[in-house]
Amino acid sequence: MIYLDNAATTYPKPASVRRAVADALVRYGANPGRAGHSMSLAASEEIFRCRSAAADFFHAPGPECVAFTLNCTNAVNYVLKGLLKPGDHVVISCLEHNAVYRPVHALARRGVEFTEARVFPGDNDRTVDAFRQAIRSNTRLIFCTHASNVWGIRLPVERIAALAHEYRIPIGLDCAQSAGILPVDMAGSGFDYLCIAGHKGLYGPMGTGMLITPNGAGLETVIQGGTGTESALAEQPAGMPERLESGTQNMPGIAGLRAGIEFVRRRGPQVIARHETALLRRIYRGLSSLPGIVLYTPEPDLRHFAPVLSFNVAGLPSETAARGLNEQGVAVRAGLHCAPTAHRFMGTLETGAVRVCPSAFTTEADADGFLRAVKRLLRKNSGPKD
């Protein structure tokens, strides 16, 4: 199989991740952060090591700023619903995933207002200006994707953060598509909330995510429950990370996530990003030479794009094209990718698109094999119809 659905979740996972998950089930089989016996404490230590690794990786002030979540969507919900109240206004971008778009719409029904700032691919000045224009006197938060999960379009988040702080507005980022690939410097750029998927560019298992913030104590909690601390109190503890971590943790997943972060650190996020971009450019050039292929974005470069690309086969529904590729052993994702706003932006809301995303493990042979499969699909599609 040629797996190019890494934007959904990376596959394969590194051997070190698979080993860490299996080892955790044996060595850290007790509930972390609850009991005082040795295996429980050992499990807590392992979770703390992952917290520390994540804090270092994203330049967070400390490991206590890292709260583990089920996925990036949970982390986004914790921020939006924990911060925004009726009468507040939030600025989002026109490229958001439903992880952002749906909770914002749910909040809008309760009196929260929002504005979609337009993104101008390749023109960061205009994009930042669009965010500036969207700010109002009651803007309580700017929250946007770091990179579109459909088109790879990268937002100038460091500049948007500077803008937000100019107006004393906190900024949150959806890093689902960027963590582990694009640089994310919490301390250096002044990001207030980082929402991270553990199972994509960080190569952890599915069911892992993180909310990284020094401001967790100020968030209203979406979920309350047992934390293993201050158990006699009816109120959720104020301290991080337990404020945002109710219930038993995904111990094997977190152990795997730590191994994933170490894998990315060892290989180097910049090396991975360059590798993936080179492959995507190879794919882009191959696709652009084929009649009947519709491309929507310019040839990707890391300055303006994360290594994700979507296209269509003219006259063929995206789902049919993806099925045709699957029949040839190529795994890609078609449809709307849970991001209708991003498709509306590009005019593909009706058709969807076929998305391609390489990983650290994708090879040139995979890219060429994908292009051959697309050529066969085109030939088949251009043949006589029944």
């Binding site: 609850r34 009991a35 005082g36 404490l41 807590s44 230590e45 703390f48 400390g62 490991p63 206590e64 293993g228 601390t229 201050e230 158990s231 006699a232 109190l233 301290g239």
Partner: protein, 62 residues
């Protein structure tokens, strides 16, 4: 564990362990056991901005 790591880096022997429930700590919590000089440990933790919820002597109570 952040506090424990900090103390160990400063050469102060310590370990994380469960602490008995009391009116002050509301129970189900963890503490750092410092067999040597707890005053020095407390200074290190306070200087690092790590909040101290209380201090107890092992086996004696508060």
């Amino acid at each position: 564990m952040k506090g424990r790591n900090l103390l160990e880096k400063r050469g102060i022997q310590c370990s994380v362990e469960r602490i008995p429930r009391s009116a002050e700590n509301h129970g189900c919590g963890y503490g750092i056991y410092v067999p040597g000089d707890p005053d020095a440990a407390e200074r290190v933790l306070r200087l690092a901005g790590i909040p101290l919820l209380g201090r107890e002597e092992r086996g004696v109570g508060r």
